[in-house]
């Protein structure tokens, strides 16, 4: 379970290449801070905060993001 409202530091992305490139392009770049602000009622997707934007990410997509 991902704890809500905690700031994480993105280390790297590890997933399908095109999808990860789109995530990078959306601002999820290594070194950035990311916060999981909400989880949808079914536990999926997660709502994350990145560079001032709220994005809905599925858990499987969020799992590609390695944080420290």
């Amino acid at each position: 379970m991902v704890p809500l409202s905690r700031t994480f530091h993105i280390d790297s992305l590890d997933g399908p290449e095109e999808d990860c490139n789109r995530l990078l392009d959306l601002g999820l770049t290594p070194g950035e801070n990311v916060i999981v602000t909400h989880a949808a009622p079914l536990g999926d997707p997660l709502i994350i905060r990145i560079r001032g934007a709220s994005l809905a990410l599925r858990k499987r997509e969020a799992a590609w993001i390695w944080v420290v």
């Binding site: 095109e18 490139n21 995530l23 959306l26 709502i47 001032g52 934007a53 599925r58 997509e61």
Partner: protein, 642 residues
């Protein structure tokens, strides 16, 4: 109706294809700015639907010489783009055949400068006159950020004008800045920092951050906007999220069905009156009857749904503008992606309950072709409002005494249509599309904003009018042809002559179809009704009234008269009743599945650019409807239901 007098072609030195393009990421306020620049004088250019559309318009006179404006769909990312994003990128890069930008208004959300300025790199590289319209300045305090437009402009080398498109503040300055940029551009192209941004995202973001630091902008960009966060706490709450969602949906349906009905009656009465007025001039003339019944009646068939579709567009625009629609899509993403659909399939499916045509257009925002195709594939199952009059007639015939039973059955039909749609999607995804993994969701949830009525009403009108243009012509053509086919036939002395309905080509076709209709438990007259329903499903009711010789112009008495006729109608030459419980249920099953709407077929063909796909869909659903209808009737009869 006509926003654009003919001078569009003649007056300006620009051709229609030379335009100022409004570009930016989604939810930056582009369309609201478009509204402010044009005074609402814009129209969707063949792109109706609820998603961001390509809007064309001209600047208001108060902003100096009139210029053409195009509002391009918002772009999240140029990587793995949706059709809308692809279209916008093509236009920006000058690769689109019709729309050639000669200047850009780049709309940038001040609360998300890093992401929006990174996108700006793509636009700045085109070396066309560009100004940045900085929106959402009023939201900066909510996220505790500070932006200095003047210093930002200096650092970027691009004019930055803060605007509030919702109030019109700063819009005049924006036009002045654009003019100045255009004049400068006639000399050597000025070098700006944005054009130097690398393509590679990580490096580009670093450079943007550096530029922002130099411009003195303080971006605590991860500070969560307190208002939005608080609302999301309820809307996405583990226990409250779905109840809120259902209340929103129920209100939407209530508005579409109940609030629209007095307006629909009014439109219907109006067209009936116009038709009867025309007929009264020369009741015997075939041409007058064709104009009154075929043409005016045909237009009426489309127009009667107009209030409902306007209410749908209005509420969808309202939900979209307030920010809730994206949350709704996020809420249902999990079940939808399990079925091989996408969170974004939610909006088309919802629209499908009013009409499949705007729903097909709304599927444009779904990025992956596979998921878009699957969404469009199941849209004909969503119980569109054209089925409502048919169900209401058939249920009244099936359950004459108990209105509440009919109401309950109707609710069951609606819910079933969603469940069957889910079943078809899940099966098709696994069997035919070799569904393995869903495409990326990564959907932005915009900050909540109090909606502004004027832009929403203007937008609703633009979308509704465009729908009428797109859907109106095919429906009118089909209904005119069907009128001719059901009022003309061969007589002994002439190959084509006006004939009574029961000797027309349609009747002949109905007779030919008799062997196929018998297993459904009905005969040729119902066949005529079924054929004519391909113009629009609800035409079934009026053509049934015609073939069963119900003489009444008033809708209520027409339905009552038809019900009377249906109770006593027998197969010709026998005393065997046509409309028995089993055959009525069979007809309901047929309407549930069958794709009886040529307009939908035409729109799907255009949208997926494939006759094969549209044809396959028509055959699949109509075939399925027929097979299941026969199966239902025969099974019921085998179990002793009349």
């Amino acid at each position: 109706m006509s926003c654009h007098p003919p001078e569009v072609e003649s007056s300006s030195v620009h051709t229609e294809d030379q335009s100022i393009c409004l570009v930016g990421m989604p939810n930056a306020g582009k369309t609201t700015l478009m509204n402010a620049l044009t005074g609402g004088n814009f129209k969707t250019a063949n792109y109706p639907g609820v998603t961001v559309s390509l809007l064309r318009g001209r600047t208001k006179p108060e902003f100096g010489p009139v210029r053409n404006l195009v509002d391009l769909p918002g772009v999240h990312s140029v990587i793995a783009p949706s059709p809308e994003e692809e279209l916008a990128c093509q236009v920006i890069e000058g690769k689109h055949s019709r729309v050639k930008p000669d200047a850009f208004i780049l709309v940038v959300d001040a609360t998300q400068l890093e992401r929006h300025l990174k996108f700006a790199g793509l636009v700045a590289r085109q070396a066309k006159p560009t100004v940045i319209a900085l929106t959402m300045m009023d939201l900066l305090p909510r996220t505790r950020q500070v932006v200095d437009p003047a210093r930002l402009s200096e650092t970027l080398g691009v004019p930055v004008v803060p605007v509030d498109p919702r109030t019109g503040k700063g819009v005049g300055d924006l036009v002045v800045a654009l003019d100045r940029a255009a004049r400068k551009a006639s000399g050597p192209t000025p070098v700006n920092a944005l054009a130097q941004l690398p393509h590679e995202p990580v490096a580009a973001f670093m450079q943007v951050r550096d530029l922002l630091r130099r411009s003195g902008s303080v971006a605590h960009s991860n500070e969560v906007d307190s208002v939005t966060s608080r609302i999301d706490g309820i809307v996405l709450h583990r226990y409250l999220g779905f109840p809120v969602f259902f209340v929103v949906l129920m209100s939407l349906f209530a508005a579409i069905f109940w609030a629209a009905s007095p307006f629909m009656d009014l439109v219907d009465e109006g067209f009936k009156f116009a038709g009867s007025l025309l007929t009264s001039i020369a009741p015997q003339s075939v041409i007058v009857r064709f104009l009154a019944e075929g043409i005016i009646g045909g237009v009426g068939v489309v127009a009667v749904f107009f209030p409902q579709i306007m209410i749908l567009f209005f509420l969808m625009t309202l939900l979209e503008d307030s920010g809730y629609l994206a949350r709704g899509a996020a809420l249902v993403d999990r079940p939808l992606s399990f079925l091989g659909l996408h969170g974004r399939s939610f909006v088309p499916m919802l629209s499908g309950f009013a009409c499949a045509i705007p729903a097909v257009f709304a599927a444009r925002s779904i990025p992956a072709r596979r998921e878009r195709l699957l969404t469009i594939w199941i849209l004909p199952l969503m119980s569109c409002s054209a089925r409502l009059p048919v169900y209401s007639l058939l249920l009244a015939a099936l359950l004459p005494a108990a209105a509440w039973k009919a109401g309950l059955s109707l609710a069951a039909i609606y819910i079933s249509s969603l469940l069957v749609g889910a079943l078809v999607a899940g099966m098709a995804a696994r069997i035919f599309l070799k569904y393995r993994t869903p495409s990326l969701l990564a959907m932005e949830l915009p900050a909540y904003r109090v909606p502004r009525w004027k832009p929403i009403l203007k937008m609703t009108w633009a979308r509704g009018f465009s729908y009428l243009q797109r859907a109106g012509v095919p429906i009118m053509t089909v209904s005119a042809v069907l009128w001719l086919v059901s009022n003309f036939g061969s007589t002994p002395d002439r190959f084509i002559a006006p004939t009574p309905k029961d000797q027309s080509y349609a009747a002949k076709l109905g007779h030919r179809m008799e062997p196929a209709l018998r297993p459904m438990g009905v005969e040729w007259r119902v066949g005529v009704g079924l054929i004519s329903a391909f113009a629009a499903r609800e035409v079934f009711v009026s053509s049934m009234a015609i073939v069963f010789h119900v003489e009444s112009s008033n809708e209520e008495t027409q339905k009552e008269g038809l019900l009377q006729q249906m109770r006593t109608a027998t197969f010709p030459g026998t005393d065997q009743l046509i409309f028995t419980p089993s055959s009525i249920v069979g007809l309901i099953v047929f309407f549930f599945f069958s794709l009886q709407c040529f307009s939908t077929v035409a729109v799907v063909r255009k949208e997926m650019n494939s006759w094969r796909l549209a044809g396959l869909q028509l055959l699949f659903y109509t075939g399925l409807g027929y097979a299941l209808s026969v199966l239902t009737v025969q099974t019921l009869r085998a179990f002793g239901v009349a």
